[in-house]
Symmetry: C2
Subunit: 414 residues, 2 copies
């Protein structure tokens, strides 16, 4: 009798609305191929501590898979652990490959962003060097949409849909009084402005908004920002500015630093917990323009608001997870699954793969042709690119007036 | 031929998800009675400047009425204008009653909260004193749920549904890493903790949350808050605290003041723009407990997120608007429409009226029997009271991936 294949799947980096849909895709496809599915609790970091869950037990039914796909955040838990260079420290690799052998793992799947692809790239390289038959496959996700080699990343469409929906609602809310005011909405995005740009999708004939979009890719002076706001306020009551948390001045300094001082760095050397851009801008514009000004941070809700997810996004996330299994079972390794756009109107895509070494540790930012000439908005090219990604609504089943989710793995200890 | 009746309707105070559903109810019922419907632009303040719109023209069809009911914020615009005591300054009353006569107004409807009911009370009293035949009717709305004389207020259910949904999603998001952390979610509510209390509706068998709820009605010491958080962190990774922006220490000082200094006051002498409670608490708990701590403000989104509205709430808001017209046309004046609860399980209510003098300028706070013994949570009595109010989802029709709304009255100038 042939040995039943075993796959191991983990999630890493910041959670998104779609990361569990990819996990559901991995589980569903693996199961349809007769494989046994294990999960890493808290990513590679948890795996190093032998934190493993049996997903055939935890997510046993088709119904549970559906609920999983509509559950926000990372069902398996996550980490921000960076594998060392094996030449400098081989110990974690020995632990991990020992564990893979012990569990009889045929393929490892890691659902994550840039840093997670670095992990998969290192494991694949180490495996290749040691003639391991184990396949290593990356499944992309990130609300930042900054991964190379794919048209876009799962998680982005849902976050963009929430941002566009929220900005549209905040715009109506901000314009109820007959007085001049500025609202600055702060949107996640450290170095790539894809998510801040998605605020432009709020615009409609009902109420054109936002009035300005500030992206990390287009540094600004406070004078230019205040100048444009002042000009707009001559003909309208409310100016809504959608500002990326990573927006910089022309010297390359983060605006939020002017507001809140020092910036911490994570294990990958990235600045973390940016915050203060909207407060700083609101405070500056208030004093420069003499108008009411308010800052609103969309905070972690923009990556967790599954109640406002994009159906297109969740469907693609699921498909990418399934495609990862198919690729591994065809013998591919050291790859990431990708979305290739066939056309925007009508929206059609196909799924591909790319060598992970080509995508790890590289970042894709908003290209100049999608940024308005004055650097404070987006072009139609961006709208054509992004609009299809937020199409379609997902309405979670409600129990007691709130969305029903798959129970957390360990609700009493979360 | 009998003269066609004319009614005038305005909106005032902070916008909510349900205030336009009440407006739709007023218009629909007035229209079914053959009346002509005028609207005040920017409430009484706009009316004093003769800012009047013809709602038979702006909202002409049944379809437009449906769209209006699903449009966030105040469609007519709002104000925070306080009418003076007529003994001190009669001028605005003379202007307003002159305008009512000129327009042939038979009845005036004001949809708003506490302060708006003060306006209706003064107009009704002035009208009665001057033998005016005009009827004055208040239609309640406020996310704060703090109006006297009614079981609850339209707007509260939808805000509560968004708070519960968001807190549930933030809780999943906050617990993905295997480390000790505190998340403080700041919720609107100056003196009444109804909305912060609604965070308790997020709790489910999938993930019990929040762990603590801080209300203005139950002052706390930082020691007590840190003590309970520390105790909870012994057995779990993440402590989620839902904190009202109006939470106070035992000396009666706002916690947010400790965080952000002076507090401004509005025309009614109320403290405004409270903010900083979550940042202050997160910063204190981080240093006292030595754990990661983050603050999230739900901001104005909690009153504007119509995409997550409660069907029960919007239906009741519509019915109260319609009931206001019915009451006025029966000759009632100086009243506010109310919701009376018949039973909680099954949820049944009826609509009544109350003399507005009994409700203006009084505030209803969360009663002791709904607050947990340690003051850091709610009881089952609160859950039984609040749960029915968030039941039922409303899914706005989407165009281009975002909810379709009734166009703003003056989209180019908003």
């Amino acid at each position: 009798m042939e040995k039943k294949r075993t796959i191991l799947v983990g999630q890493s980096g910041g959670p998104t609305c779609a990361i569990n849909a990819s996990l559901a895709g991995v589980i569903a496809k693996a199961r349809s191929e007769g494989a046994h599915v294990l999960g890493m609790r808290y990513g590679i970091e948890g795996l190093l501590k032998r934190r493993i869950v049996d997903l055939d037990e935890k997510v046993p039914t088709a119904q549970a898979l559906k609920e999983l796909a509509l559950t926000p955040a990372s069902y398996l838990g996550s980490c921000r652990y960076k594998l060392p260079d094996p030449a400098a420290d081989e110990a974690p690799y020995q632990t991990l490959f020992g564990l893979f052998a012990e569990l009889g793992v045929d393929a490892v799947f890691y659902i994550g962003g840039n840093d997670s692809m670095d992990t998969i790239a290192k494991l694949a390289a180490y495996g290749a060097e040691h003639k391991s038959p184990i396949r290593f496959v990356g499944v992309p996700k990130t609300i930042d949409n900054d991964l190379m080699g794919t048209d876009h990343t799962p998680g982005y469409g849902s976050a963009a849909k929430f941002v566009a929906t929220a900005v549209g609602e905040l715009a109506r809310d901000a314009s109820v009084y007959d007085l001049k005011s500025v609202l600055v909405v702060e949107i996640m995005g450290r170095d790539a402005g894809w998510l801040a740009a998605s605020a432009a999708l709020a615009s409609s004939r009902e109420l054109p908004t936002p009035d300005m979009i500030l992206l990390p890719e287009a540094p600004q002076t406070l004078d230019a920002i205040a100048g444009k706001a002042s000009e707009l306020l001559e003909t309208r009551n409310t100016v809504l500015i959608a500002a990326s948390e990573g927006v910089r001045d022309v010297s390359g300094n983060l605006l939020c630093e002017a507001g809140s001082g020092a910036v911490a760095k994570d294990a990958f050397g990235h600045e973390v917990a940016l915050s203060g851009t909207c407060r700083y801008l609101a405070s500056e514009l208030k004093s420069r323009l003499g108008v009411k000004a308010r800052g609103v941070e969309l905070s972690t809700l923009q990556r967790a608001a599954t109640h406002c997810a994009s159906k297109t996004d969740l469907d693609e996330a699921f498909s990418l997870g399934a495609a990862g299994i198919a690729a591994a079972f065809e013998g591919k390794t050291g790859i990431m699954c990708t979305i290739e756009r066939v056309s925007s109107l009508p929206y059609r895509t196909k799924i591909g793969t790319i060598a992970i070494s080509e995508v790890a540790n590289a970042e894709r930012t908003v290209p100049p042709e999608m940024i308005a000439a004055d650097g404070m908005g987006v072009t139609d090219a961006f709208i054509r690119y992004a609009r299809p990604l937020i199409e379609g609504a997902v309405h979670p089943f409600e129990v007691d007036g709130v969305p029903h989710r798959l129970p957390a793995l360990d609700p009493g200890r979360c």
